[in-house]
């Protein structure tokens, strides 16, 4: 069995790199897959239908199709409906938070400024969504 995968939907390569670095520096055992936009993310999810990622970490600001749109599409398809989605964003707008939860996000996390905090966040996310909250076998 392969390592559990995390799909990170993040258009900024630097931010994706930081997540990867945080991940690596923590020596976690999950594999980080990065999709640079919404289409690529959905594409990946539909291709990996048989073996979906443990969690999708979704940025709201994406070029083209926005994060909320990706979430809506995921929740409307049976094959992606049950994949946990954590929204990770710099947005502080309450509207975004509410919209995210309305569309079925499992968690809404604001990106902390401090890298230490960020690293802690990633750890928590991984622990909870990858290690603890294991999906029942399909």
């Amino acid at each position: 069995m392969t390592n559990p995968r995390i799909l990170l939907v993040e258009d900024s390569r630097d931010d994706a790199e930081l997540v990867r670095l945080a991940d690596q520096s923590l020596h976690l055992h999950s594999e980080l897959v990065v999709a640079e936009d919404g289409e690529a993310a959905l594409d990946y999810l539909f291709r990996a239908e048989a073996d979906p990622p443990a969690v999708v970490i979704l940025d709201l600001r994406l070029p083209g199709m926005g994060g909320l749109e990706v979430l809506r599409t995921m929740r409307s398809r049976p094959q992606t409906r049950r994949i946990p989605v954590v929204i990770l964003t710099g947005s502080e707008r309450d509207e975004d938070v509410l919209a995210g939860y309305d569309l079925g996000a499992n968690s809404f996390v604001r990106k902390p400024h401090e890298f230490e905090a960020f690293r802690a966040l990633i750890t928590h996310l991984e622990h909870y969504w990858v290690m603890t909250n294991l999906r029942p076998p399909v």
């Binding site: 900024s12 930081l18 670095l21 710099g90 309450d94 400024h113 890298f115 230490e116 960020f118």
Partner: protein, 532 residues
């Protein structure tokens, strides 16, 4: 209903009648006026006088005629009686008859009778002439005496003469005379009256008519004076004086009227000018309103744009800062031991800069949120909130010893999150600026001013220059150098906005080195259901 109508009808009728009467009297022909009344009065009075004088004259005449008759009687007595006595003595009846007929020829004599008295009763001689007792008469009886000698003492009454004088002649003459007098007096009266009427008409009435018609035509805008067409008497008379007085009065009136006219014209001009000004004001007002509406709409639009801009700027600015911080951290973690001191130092400076900027963005966001987010007004324990703020400050700065005094039981209504920001800013400032005071003291309490609760945050810190008071609450305006006291310069601007949204105000006083006092109010208008 019917009654009302009826009374209305009566009322109308009365009014009509009244109006008609007024019209008739105003336009009554002059012939029925003064001249005729004058004529009638003259005629009546003159007739009365004529009548009285005529009566008097007639009476005098009557008396005269009666006197004539009486005189005639006396004449008969003296002239005829002796001869009658002789004839009677001799019983010469023929002579007696002749004699009394002679007397009867005298004017007005109607009946004469001679009677014998004395002797035997059988043969009494009675001689008469004329008709006795016809019409009004005047009678007298004279005794007839006879003396045989010349001696008067021998006289004896032998008979009586009865004389009757008729008055019908007197009356007829009186009637004739009366008729003549009346006719002549009537003609005279008529002529005099007509003459007087003419004179009065010529001297007075026609001028009165002229004056009346002039007055009925009178109009203040015509300027010809009242002038009577007559040959002027050598000396001024009543009419002249009246005309003079009237002309003086009318010229006075005209003058006043003219002045009134002028004043009126001025007033009208004034009113027109004022109306014009009013219209101008109205126009300007509506223009202004239009502009205000437009500006308001523009402002609202630009406010929204600004909000969106603020939001996206602070959001988008954060992402690169986070990357700087993230990669900086990784550099610090993994390479600081491999490179020299200066590297670590610079890296630290870079990361501190990015942290400062992040803080600025945070407060920028807070400011933007303080105006954007909806208020959730609830009961708040401000004392408790202040205590928590102080607790957080102590936790952050455990090495500082600050004496804090918080009045208990301060409660009000407000948005919990925003009011927390207010207290955090005000108490945080007090905390920050009292840093250099060894015996720093902060207090949060309230006082009453003009019936209002005023909250007070006081410190004994660095204070500020009152000259820069107006810049205190402006965003990004700082009164201290960042090296002295760090800060973003946005805290008090945020406080001001939040308090404004809570219907309150904030003002401050202070002096350099003497500390600062911030006072604020909430819900000044009384309402606590503020809608942004």
């Amino acid at each position: 209903m019917g009654k009302t109508e009826g009374s209305d009808g009566v009322h109308d009728g009365t009014e009509d009648g009244h109006q008609a009467g007024t019209v008739v009297s105003a336009r009554a022909p002059i012939g029925h006026g003064v001249a005729w009344r004058l004529l009638a009065s003259i005629f009546l009075f003159s007739s009365l006088v004529t009548l009285l004088t005529t009566l008097f004259e007639l009476y005098m005449d009557y008396r005269g005629q009666i006197d004539d008759i009486v005189n005639r009687f006396e004449e008969i007595e003296t002239a005829y009686l002796p001869s009658l006595g002789g004839s009677l003595w001799s019983l010469d009846t023929d002579q007696l008859q002749l004699q009394i007929e002679g007397i009867k020829r005298l004017p007005d004599m109607q009946y004469l009778e001679v009677r014998e008295i004395g002797r035997s009763l059988k043969r009494r001689v009675t001689i008469s002439t004329g008709d006795r007792g016809v019409g009004p008469v005047l009678s007298r009886e004279f005794p007839i005496t006879y003396a045989e000698s010349r001696d008067r003492n021998d006289e004896q009454t032998i008979g009586a003469l009865y004389v009757e004088a008729t008055l019908s002649g007197v009356y007829a003459r009186l009637v004739d005379k009366a008729v003549v007098i009346l006719i002549s007096q009537g003609i005279k009266t008529f002529l005099v009256s007509m003459f007087i009427l003419y004179i009065v008409y010529r001297l007075v009435t026609r001028h009165l008519v002229a004056i009346a018609s002039y007055l009925s035509r009178f109009n203040l805008s015509q300027s010809d004076p009242l002038r009577l067409s007559r040959s002027r008497p050598s000396r001024e008379d009543e009419l002249d004086r009246m005309v003079g007085a009237f002309n003086q009065m009318s010229s006075g009136l005209r003058e006043v009227y003219q002045q009134l006219h002028e004043v009126n014209a001025e007033l009208e001009e004034d009113i027109a000018a004022r109306r014009k000004a009013e219209e101008e004001v109205t126009r300007l007002n509506s223009e202004l309103e239009q502009r205000v509406r437009q500006r308001t709409a523009e402002l609202e639009a630009s406010n929204k744009e600004l909000d969106a801009f603020t939001y996206s700027v602070s959001h988008d600015l954060r992402a690169p800062l986070r990357r700087i911080e993230g990669f900086g951290q990784i550099l610090a973690d993994e390479y600081s031991t491999k490179l020299d001191e200066r590297f670590s130092h610079y890296l630290q400076r870079i990361r501190a800069g990015s942290r400062d900027m992040s803080e600025m963005i945070d407060s920028f966001l807070k400011l933007s949120r303080s105006t954007r987010s909806e208020l959730t007004v609830e009961d708040i324990d401000l004392s408790d909130m202040a205590a928590k703020v102080v607790a957080r400050l102590r936790e952050k700065d455990p090495q500082r010893s600050v004496s804090v005094e918080i009045a208990p039981g301060l409660r009000n209504r407000g948005d919990r999150r925003l009011m927390d920001a207010v207290l955090e800013n005000l108490i945080g400032n007090a905390w920050k600026y009292s840093r250099h005071n060894k015996a720093a003291a902060i207090s949060f309490g309230c006082e009453t001013s003009e019936g209002r609760v005023v909250y007070v945050v006081r410190d004994n810190g660095a204070g500020f220059d009152m000259n820069y008071l107006d810049r205190l609450f402006m965003p990004f305006c700082r009164l201290h150098r960042p090296e002295e006291f760090e800060g973003t310069g946005i805290g008090l601007a945020t406080v001001l906005r939040i308090l404004a949204r809570h219907g309150g105000r904030i003002w401050a006083e202070g002096a350099i080195g003497k500390g600062a006092v911030f006072r604020f109010t909430l819900w000044e208008a009384g309402g606590q259901d503020d809608k942004p």
